[in-house]
């Protein structure tokens, strides 16, 4: 990574910014945030007034796009998007300035702006339909009374109101009325289920009194529009109006669809182009200014520097000064960009999940990727489960993987893990547990080790793998310390363990009687152990004891390779045993057995796949990274035009 300073005449700024934006190889830093030494000699840039114009146009377009999107019918479902997404057809665009974009916005808004009016009409129409439906429901409730609707409401002397009341609360309501002395009140009541519809009639002067009483008792008044005629006539009128409104709704939706067909693509294109323009304009305040010149500060990958210089020269006709500096001694300031071959890139997400490497730190992805897959395969260890994962990965790769980089990366990781699990499953003889020998009487071929039958051998392999990975971590840490000339840390942090481990191995073999060693070896081992322990205690003091137990814990933690392998095979076998026990001659039992088998194996497949992945991650993050890796680097975030649906003509800058 190189720190970049670019100085140019302000006349060339827009052209250069546009080219840098499309190239996406420079991270622009804010000179004023970075407290650059240049600040003292430069002026701050003013916020471009064009930004407001840009934002206003974006807002106009966004409101129309949202309306069109809300009523679009061909939105694909989740499964369709996952399995068979439509690749995005990019729209070719030319370089344009803001004025030209604004002109285009004006044209398209004049044609598509009607969409927001249509939306308002649709909202009003929906509200009217909902109101009518509510009316229809209310009228349906009072229909059994066979009353003319003209009686409801106030007349010259009376006030009549329909309401709904719970049967259980009716008596309390009636008593309340008696107490309130409504001597002129008339109640008609028809009970339906748990509720009753009542029609209350009183003298006009008592209206407020009655309304207050109903409110206090939480009784729902049925709102019915004034209408002179029978309930049935009103219902018929409502039906006719709803039908007419529905017809109008279809017409309005057609209108929106027509606008969408004519202007939808243009709107999206302009939205993206304006967004890019706005982002470009926003950077002006990041620069340092003089009367005629502009200074841009940023970061670029070393391999992109030559291209960056070409772009600067081309955009400014050579009227530019250009300076590259190596990062100073503060790695926190320097952004980090992964630099891995294509096949390794999907696994960068695993490293990022823990933390991005700091500048100058070893990127562990190349070590993590193969080991993660190996551990996953060992722990899942079932050829059929591996086949399932591979099939899922292929479906994802050929589906959403075509349009989404993330899905493509996940599918590649899954595919690798699936194939590795198939191989591991064959070597462990796992085919949905012991399905082959139990149900088909076939002894699995090519079996090298079976965790259930040879747990001790499997454990031995797990612990060997563990000690190898732990030492790989120590070697990487040693390499980093040597590179940065931190020899004391190297001595205490890694050399100590290189002394201690062989000595401990000799003592262990000797203690458990697995081997005998000549006195010289024992003496050398004793000295090595003393030196190793001494260095550890020198580094951590009495707490060094926990370093020793921690190391032991890290090593024994690899026993989970056996535990998970056992769990996969054992649970699958349990499902098979249960299936066998349940199955019988009766077809019903056979059906039950098939159900147990399918549900059990699916459960085991999902749970163990999840477990194998998480435990593989844990071994990387805790046991392996703990030896050499801190992470915490800042992501390189280039100034790059985000073109999702457009592509610039002649865009290979």
């Amino acid at each position: 990574m190189k720190q970049v300073f670019i100085g140019l005449h302000r006349a060339y700024l827009n052209e250069l910014l546009s080219d840098l934006h499309e190239a996406g190889i420079l991270e622009i830093t804010n000179i004023w945030d970075a407290e650059s030494k240049l600040c003292a000699t430069l002026d701050e840039g003013e916020r471009c007034p064009e930004i407001e114009k840009c934002a206003e146009n974006i807002q106009n377009i966004t409101s129309i796009i949202e309306v069109l999107r809300e009523f679009r019918e061909d939105e694909a479902g989740f499964l369709h998007l996952l399995l068979s997404p439509q690749p995005i057809r990019k729209i070719s665009v030319d370089k344009k300035d803001l004025l030209q974009l604004c002109r285009e916005v004006k044209e398209v808004v004049s044609e598509a702006g009607a969409a927001t009016d249509v939306k308002r009409s649709l909202d009003a129409l929906h509200a009217r339909i909902a109101g009518l439906q509510e009316q229809r429901e209310s009228i349906g409730l009072v229909m059994p009374f066979e009353l003319d609707l003209g009686y409801f409401g106030e007349s010259e002397f009376l006030y009549t109101v329909p309401a709904v009341i719970d049967n259980s609360g009716y008596q309390r309501f009636a008593d309340k009325i008696d107490n309130e002395l409504f001597d002129t009140l008339h109640i008609s009541r028809i009970a339906t289920g748990s509720q009753a519809v009542v029609i209350l009639t009183t003298v006009r002067a008592e209206r407020e009194h009655l309304d207050r009483l109903l409110q206090e008792q939480y009784i729902r008044i049925l709102e019915i529009e004034p209408f002179a005629g029978s309930p049935q006539e009103k219902v018929d009128a409502i039906q006719s109006e709803i039908k007419a409104l529905s017809q109008r709704e279809l017409e309005l939706l057609d209108e929106l669809r027509n606008i969408d067909a004519r202007c939808g693509e243009q709107l999206l294109r302009l939205h993206e182009e304006l967004g890019i323009e706005k982002e470009r304009l926003m950077t002006h305040t990041h620069f340092g200014w003089t009367h005629d010149t502009v200074v841009i500060e940023g970061w670029a990958a070393e391999k992109d520097c030559a291209r960056l210089q070409e772009i600067c020269d081309a955009a400014t006709a050579g009227h530019v000064f250009y300076k590259l500096l190596d990062p100073d001694g503060t790695p926190d300031r320097v952004p980090v960009r992964y630099d891995n071959p294509g096949w390794l890139r999907p696994f960068e997400a695993v490293t990022t999940m823990f933390a991005r490497p700091r500048y100058g730190e070893v990127d562990p992805t190349i070590f993590t990727a193969p080991i993660l897959i190996l551990f996953f395969a060992l722990m899942l260890g079932d050829a059929v489960y591996g086949l399932f994962i591979t099939i899922i990965a292929i479906v994802l790769f050929r589906g959403a993987g075509k349009v989404s980089r993330t899905v493509r990366d996940v599918s590649i990781i899954l595919m690798t893990a699936g194939v590795a699990t198939i191989i591991s499953g064959i070597l462990q003889g796992g085919y949905m547990g012991d399905f082959l020998p139990r149900f088909l009487g076939i002894a699995p071929p090519f079996v090298v080790i079976n965790a259930l039958e040879q747990p001790i051998e499997f454990l031995r392999i797990a612990l060997i793998i563990g000690i190898v990975q732990i030492n790989l971590g120590l070697f990487i840490a040693a390499y980093q310390n040597m590179r940065t000339k931190r020899y004391v840390a190297l001595l205490k942090g890694q050399v100590s363990w290189f002394f201690l481990q062989p000595a401990a191995a000799v003592f262990l073999f000797s203690f458990f009687g697995w081997g005998t060693f000549p006195p010289l070896v024992m003496a050398v081992s004793t000295i090595a152990a003393v030196v190793g322990v001494g260095l550890i205690l020198f580094k951590s003091g009495p707490l060094g004891f926990f370093d020793l137990t921690g190391f032991l814990g890290d090593w024994l933690s690899y026993a989970r390779l056996l535990a998970l392998a056992l769990a996969t095979g054992g649970i699958a076998m349990t499902v098979n045993i249960l299936t066998q026990m349940v199955s019988g001659d009766n077809p019903l039992f056979l059906l039950l057995a098939a159900f147990i088998f399918i549900v059990g194996q699916t459960f085991n497949f999902v749970l163990q796949s999840l477990g194998a992945f998480i435990h593989s991650l844990r071994l990387q993050f805790v046991e392996f990274f703990g030896k050499f890796y801190t992470g915490g680097g800042r992501e390189f975030s280039p100034f790059m035009a985000k073109r999702e649906i457009t592509e610039l003509n002649g865009g290979d800058i």
Binding site: F354, A355, P455, F512, F546, G553, S557, M573, L610, G611
Partner: protein, 240 residues
């Protein structure tokens, strides 16, 4: 065929394995499930994610079930011909059940960690992977318990059907199971630290490494238990 004392002891071992671990898994799943319900109440689309976190502490129950099945198979009660199991092996089976059963109580800690994880993961989808890693930390104790259980079964001849250990060694196996089993309760402490660790990591992603170190400190005691369990196996002559 009447059941011998050895077989009865193996059956008790199987009961301890599945029963004790089910207590841990049940409580752990319950703790995680309470948080999962809250998360789903706020955002029903998070149901699948919440279910994954709730399922994590189930593993201890599965280990217990696995060992119980293996024990029953070794006697022929399940899926084979009944075998005359000596009392010494029956005693070892009790040790097996205690090892995996007590260590299965670490699921309580896993439930605590998972409940914190599901809460933060629901707010920030990018934290899901880290949440899973923190949640899986307290499972180490259960793995040690399973490991000792498998070693005890292997060394006492339960996989091969060749039973040679003495009754004294069978009692030693119980000691071995107790060591790793009780030490496995450190998983509860680890779960508390891991739960706080994921919250800290959600606020400051760069502290993940340090939060992991804090969380794995509790594992030290599980390692002590495992170490003693293995030493008992070798010291008592269980390994032959």
């Amino acid at each position: 065929m009447a059941m011998g004392t050895g077989t009865v002891l193996v059956v008790i071992g199987a009961g301890l394995a599945v029963g004790l671990s089910a207590i841990g898994a049940g409580i752990g799943v319950g703790i995680a499930g309470a948080a999962a319900s809250g998360v789903t109440a706020v955002d029903k689309d998070k149901f699948g994610l919440a279910l994954v976190f709730q399922a994590l502490p189930q593993t201890q129950g599965i280990y217990g079930l696995l060992v119980a099945i293996l024990l029953l198979m070794s006697t022929g009660i399940l899926g084979g011909n009944p075998v005359d199991v000596p009392v010494s092996v029956g005693l070892a089976a009790i040790g097996v059940g205690i090892a995996v059963g007590l260590a299965g109580l670490s699921a309580i800690g896993q439930g605590i960690a998972a409940s914190s994880s599901v809460a933060v993961a629901a707010r920030d989808p990018e934290i899901v992977g880290k949440g899973l890693v923190f949640s899986v930390l307290p499972e180490t104790q259960a793995i040690y318990g399973l490991l000792v259980a498998i070693l005890l079964m292997a060394f006492s001849g339960m996989f091969t059907g060749v039973f040679t250990i003495s009754e004294a060694v069978g009692f030693a196996a119980i000691g071995s199971g107790l060591a790793v089993g009780f030490a496995g309760l450190s998983g509860i402490g680890q779960g508390i630290t891991a739960g706080a660790g994921i919250v800290a990591t959600a606020q400051q992603p760069e502290v993940m490494g340090r939060a992991l170190i804090f969380a794995v400190m509790s594992e030290t005691f599980a390692i002590f238990g495992l170490l003693i369990a293995i030493l008992i196996m070798f010291g008592s002559g269980l390994t032959g």
